[in-house]
Amino acid sequence: MEDMLFYDRLQFAFTITFHYIFPQLTMGLSLLIVFLKGKYLLSKIEKYNNAAKFLMKIFAVNFTMGVVTGIPMEFQFGTNWAKFSELTGSIIGQTLAMEGMFSFFLESSFLALFIFGEKLMGQKLHFLTGFLVFLGSWASGWFILATNAWMQHPVGYEILENGKFVLNNFGDLFTNPWLLPAFLHNQIASVVTSSFVVASIGAFYVLRNKQVEYGKLFLKTGVIFGLVSSILVAFPTGDWNAKNVAEHQPAAFAAMEGIFETEEAGSEIVLIGQPNMVDKKLDNKIAVPNILSFLTHQDWNKQIPGMDQFKEEELPSNIPALYYSYHIMVGLGTIFIGVMALALFFLWRKKLYTIKPLLWTIMFLVPFPYIANLTGWYTAELGRQPYLVYGLLKTSDGISPTVSSGNTLFTLLGFVALYMLLGLLFLVLVGKTINQGPTPQTH
């Protein structure tokens, strides 16, 4: 039983992590593509159109990856979490089915048109198809987050005698207080990823002294979008999420922030420290007093319950992992703002394209927004443990009763092998595309 649960969780964590590498770029990049295409429509400068079409090539490869890794996600609810699906399917099935009907269709139908149809349709319609792809991908994020929000903070349901969760208010699924902050934060975080990717490609072209015209365009676009989104991701949306967690999942909040003991008045904010689960304290702590209370409640002296206020079984199951995930996300977020602010400053002074160390930094920063996004999700998902549906359904009660751990391990190994191959091919392909660059097409 124990290892059935372990392998089910490991497989889900592995496959969703891999899946989420791709949609975060899809969602953000579609916004940048629409922006560049729109700029072309207004200015009629060919450069913008070529840039948009070039990014579309990267988008297309990335999208394919998202589709093939997304289909296993949808199936896994049934294959590995059968009991969970049976008990809650009539609720989360709603949002997942809507995602399929409203967003995936929109996205994939119009993506094909955007890629193949420029000559057929004329520029205005071409812009429109690009916009619809963007809309589809953001709608997809909306429905998926509505699903996740219900698991974090269940609403609009009733529990029958046989333990089944039944929907009794459809509207509640979308007015869930968890949904809007999570959605905005998550979408802006995906804009962070895509801006960094675009800026990084730009830095590469400028440093290599090839495709320099496009390199500068990408750097400029990436840096401006990057700074704005990095700020928005921290404030107001990150802050709003933190308040939300403090209100609805106080035990998870205490663990995220690493507050072992409740303080009389005003909680400190921890910058660095390692959770020591034996002595129930943080080792090597560096913290600033009272800030956390102020950030969370706008009151320097407000008391925030620490982990000592909760019973063992109310606390998240893996506190150190949760704590590190959260601190990595927030730490990276702070660094992003710093780097992008610096870059924008030099862009404004017209020096950015010549400062090599900064260009190197921008180029190599590219994995970090991915890490921030993934650790952000780990924060959300680990904070929810040991529950699948917060406070109501234990993770251990959601697994498939008939699938043995040997079978799950077998499929997990298969996924690992296949995804390594897939990841490798993806890198080769994207590398090739970037190497070719957005040279104007000649036909």
Binding site: K57, A60, V61, T64, V68, T69, I71, P72, E74, F75, G78, T79, N80, A82, S85, E86, T88, G89, S90, I92, G93, Q94, L96, A97, M98, E99, G100, M101, F102, F104, F105, L106, S109, F110, L111, A112, L113, I115, F116, G117, L120, M121, V166, L167, F170, S400, P401, T402, V403, S404, N407, T411, G414, L418, L421, L422, L425, L429, K432, T433
Partner: protein
């Protein structure tokens, strides 16, 4: 309401098999008949341009099943765990084959992607047929042994096969001689469908030869169909009762046989679209007849201890189904609009279309 959602899901699934079915079939034909590089390229392109928008129908069917029949979704997806995951892997291999083909210069790579596309298409067709075979045969619900269920009566777990490969044992596996025959039917049907698609969408040099291939495959299909009906009687003597009790259901087998007989005259059919329509009828009729033979059961039980799964004992409650009806109708209209817009703009032969990269 249950009946409505059942029909809606059946329609979406049938559309998936009709649309993605030609991709699978294209892969099978590609594997066996395409020899020249030029042909290989256009044939792969005729599938490559469409596979991902076709696969969305699978995603939609999955989502609708989850929402409307959660108990069925949970039971079947965990019970058919191994074959389903293998299908997922095959879907990935096929996508790799199609997407990467055009991007590498060397023939060695092209051969690798082609094989990946062809073999995974073939196996997918086989597996989907086997799945249908499993549904009509039924499974050991509750994994009953000596009259006692090992789990709740609506859960089960199927091995890929058991030592006897026989559907008549207490614990039939996923693959046995009955489901294998159904799997072969699916392979042949989709190969015919794919060949029709290639004729319709490309100017490849093997088009003229393909009509002969379809003719021969059709004869094999007739033989397999009759053989499977015979086997079906052995596996489940009551399999045709539904058609006797509700003669109206006979339209579904009639659709199937129309396709079958029509394709007999393939060499005289002038319009490529008509031939494609006939193989569409074949798929549509095949799936709907199988489902109709069971209705309202959706997964029979091979033991007498546990009840079969029906659309009534696995459905979500009334409220959820009826709100979903509202958005479902809007969604479905949108789907059809997208679909028509897309097929309109991308109609015609694919040879000269500019394939991305």
């Amino acid at each position: 309401m249950e009946v409505f959602w059942y029909i809606a899901i059946a329609i979406v699934l049938a559309i998936f098999f009709i649309l993605d079915g030609y991709d699978f079939g294209t892969g099978i034909i590609h594997l066996f008949f395409a020899k020249k590089e030029k042909d290989k390229e256009v044939i792969a392109k005729s599938a490559g341009l469409f596979w991902d928008s076709n696969e969305v129908w699978l995603v939609a069917a999955g989502g609708m099943l989850f929402m409307a029949f959660p108990t069925f979704y949970a039971s079947v997806f965990s019970g058919f765990y191994l074959p389903l995951i293998i299908v997922l892997w095959l879907i990935i291999f096929r996508a790799i084959g199609l997407e990467f083909r055009g991007l590498f210069k060397y023939q060695m790579w092209k051969d690798i992607w082609d094989t990946s596309f062809g073999v995974s298409s073939l196996l997918l067709a086989l597996f989907f047929g086997i799945a249908l075979g499993n549904i009509v045969r039924g499974v050991n619900l509750g994994d009953v042994q000596n009259g006692i269920s090992a789990h709740e009566g609506h859960y089960f777990f199927l091995p890929l096969w058991n030592s006897s490969f026989s559907p008549l044992t207490e614990h039939p596996g996923v693959i046995d001689w009955f489901t294998l025959v159904i799997g072969l039917i699916a392979v042949v049907t989709l190969a015919i469908h794919g060949a029709n698609w290639i004729i319709l969408k490309t100017n490849s040099s093997i088009n003229s030869k393909l009509k002969g291939v379809i003719f021969k495959l059709n004869i094999v299909l007739i033989a397999l169909t009759l053989f499977s009906l015979y086997l079906w009687q052995i596996v489940n003597p009551n399999s045709l009762n539904n058609f006797v009790e509700k003669p109206l259901l006979m339209v579904f087998p009639i659709i199937y046989f129309t396709g079958l007989i029509g394709l007999f005259f393939i060499k005289r059919i002038k319009k490529d679209g008509h031939a494609f329509l006939l193989s569409t009828l074949l798929i549509l009729g095949g799936i709907t007849s199988s489902l109709a033979s069971l209705f309202p059961v959706i997964l029979p039980s091979v033991n007498t201890v546990n009840e079969p799964l029906t659309i009534y004992n696995t459905a979500a409650p009334e409220y959820g189904l009826s709100v979903a009806l509202t958005w479902g109708i809007i969604g479905f209209i949108l789907l059809l609009v997208y679909f028509i817009v897309q097929k309109r703009l991308m109609g015609g032969k694919v040879d000269n279309m500019d394939y991305g990269h």
